[in-house]
Symmetry: C2
């Protein structure tokens, strides 16, 4: 190297999940480590037909440069859809992003100077945490109980950190814990955000994938003073490989995000945006989502039942009402990392919980299990192997 | 707003070209202001067929999450292709990016702290300049003559700015000037980069679109000490709307860029990468490129002939040997901006040259003309209007 890397990225490492996923290149390894939507949930035939329609009807539009804000028809549909859900308020603007990840990354870029503080649930989604780290911010994890972030702890942290720019949250079926923040807790967090003059960045990739319980009002709907920035995506309701997400917030903020994206990706793949638009306006989108919920309900129940049958009772399992993940927690006397290593030796990959901590060095006793990617047979066999590993190792 | 924007983006404005392009929403306006490839150059039928093949043969691969580095088959093809062109050296790595723009943006992110210096040709491509600005770097334009950047001026700037991280250059058919840096000048610039321990970021979107003269050796080929970072793209040889570019450099640097992209787009739209791979391996890619060169040769000649017939002799025109742009320069006594405003009033849009300066406040007497996007009829009519405007205004 001629010159060192910039300070903000010098210590940025590939996500720990990626290291685990290397083991899963071995075809004998059953992976509960991914976060991929169930492939059987992809509406392949409809997508193939729509793509053919696009190239027959308007090929140049699908291939030429487009505008950074996104495909106008898709933006109009999103605005209407988000308005109907009370997530789009007067004065808001919605733009298309290259996945929700870009929405999250550009939000950090436009709001944070190096050394500023971002608060997150502890644990939280490593992709977002690394996006924040890549701008040299100080990341502070807020302790949680089963209802979400603890308001007293949150307030203490806000008091102690006046350069906090926003609170990052995945309120529904959180990655990695699978848990949903209660309405009461959302109101408390939002009240604190207002009191201390910080944004809430609400990341809601899994919200549509609810297979039990009742929807909880979004932060974005609860907000009446432009404190909430909302990131959504088509990754879990259409397909992640197309990289189509969106950002909805106050227009001034979103306009600055557009300038940021203009300098990085110019615009999101336009064929993919046209595909998403034609998909949501061609099929019965609500029925499509109900179908997805049924797929995830069955997969979750399969894994839950298998885990309950195979794992010792002292391993505590979260009970998600949607999404892709179960969070398993060992009693403190056991070494979680040793268990994960033993599991992968026996050809089952899970993700060690410390990967999701704001401070990765902090000890975790939990690990993340994914039920959307493996087949039913893999779920059964993998849980059996985990059960035996637990019986042999945890005595 | 609750909080101000980050310092690095606070003053970042949408590109001035976008403001000009607003006029071009008027269907009566003939736009010579864009930078779009010729739509007739898109191999629509082949793309439609390949897309159908993908969804018939491997739909899940085209829709599921993929790896940040890019589609392995496309990366392998790129490595082979770049190696054959002597652009890929031992120890290098090539990854797929969401357009060359992302390659350029992430290079600035991983190399530059706020306040560091990036040097660029003056004038240069505004999209890249804004990407650099978005990281709070100090941008210094290096004066050019017809052979490229002036080595003495470059050395003086390098001496005076020890925090310079890289020299950004578009060596072939530069945007906006259309000019090509000579081999001798490339060698001089590279020698200075080595002497002062800075990188050269070589942006080569137009290199394949040569319609006159002989290829000039790339910086990347000339480099024997990992000083050159190479950005390429399928935007001008396949289609820009798919957003597929690539970054080729020393593996350590590219690995850090991958971590950066993992936090922003996760990966480039995978269908688009599969499309690009199948395209280059299905068609005779060299023949395809020869066809593009012929399209651009005809379009360039059409505009050159029309301009020479219509414009007064005192407006100097660059003579590109490829690419998309002609650079027109007025004598210093005239007001270039007033001429551009008059042109757009008469329904012809061109881009004022100061938009491309490292310091936008610096006066320019030039404007940029694009011949790839307008039809032949638009070229003829637009040049006639420009000629009348010049005759009326510039006396």
């Amino acid at each position: 190297m001629l010159k060192p890397f910039s300070d903000k990225v010098a210590n940025l490492a590939p996500s720990a999940i990626r290291e685990i996923l290397k083991f899963t290149a071995d075809p004998e390894v059953i992976s509960f480590a991914a976060g991929n939507p169930a492939p059987e949930a992809f509406p392949v035939d409809t997508i193939a037909k729509i793509s053919a329609d696009i190239f027959r009807e308007e090929p140049i539009n699908a291939l030429q440069y487009s505008v950074t804000e996104g495909y106008p028809k898709l933006r109009a549909w999103l605005e209407q859809d988000l308005r109907a859900k009370k997530l789009f308020k007067d004065g808001d603007m919605v733009v298309v992003t290259s996945g929700a990840q870009q929405a999250i990354e550009v939000t950090a870029k436009i709001l944070c100077n190096e050394g500023d503080v971002i608060l997150c649930e502890n644990p939280s989604f490593i992709g977002s945490l690394n996006a924040f780290r890549s701008y040299g911010v100080k990341l502070i994890g807020v302790p949680m109980d089963e209802d979400g972030m603890l308001p007293d702890e949150l307030e203490n942290i806000l008091k102690a950190n006046p350069t906090t720019k926003f609170i990052y949250t995945i309120p529904n079926f959180q990655n990695p814990t699978g848990q949903t923040t209660t309405l009461e807790r959302r109101k408390a967090v939002l009240a604190l955000a207002k009191k201390y003059g910080v944004y809430v960045l609400e990341d809601n990739p899994y919200g549509a994938l609810r297979f039990a319980g009742e929807d909880v009002t979004c932060y974005k709907e609860l907000d009446d003073s432009k404190n909430v920035i909302y990131a959504g995506t088509f990754s879990k309701v259409l397909a992640p490989g197309i990289r189509v997400g969106y950002l909805c917030a106050d227009a001034e903020l979103v306009s600055k995000a557009v300038v940021g994206m203009q300098t990085s990706t110019v615009h999101t793949n336009i064929w993919a945006q046209m595909l998403a638009y034609r998909f949501v306006t061609t099929v019965n989108f609500n029925e499509h989502i109900k179908g997805l919920q049924e797929i995830y309900r069955l997969k979750y129940n399969r894994m839950k039942d298998a885990l309950k049958a195979q794992l010792p009772d002292f391993i505590k399992l979260s009970e998600p009402q949607g999404g892709l993940f179960i969070w398993a927690t060992l009693p403190e006397k056991y070494d979680m990392n040793a268990f994960c290593v033993e599991a992968v030796k026996r050809k089952v990959a899970v993700v060690p919980g410390n990967a999701f901590n704001a401070d990765e060095a902090e000890i975790s006793h939990s690990f993340r299990l994914n039920y959307s990617t493996p087949t039913n047979e893999q779920i059964d066999k993998g849980c059996e192997i985990l059960g035996k590993a637990a019986t042999d190792l945890l005595k």
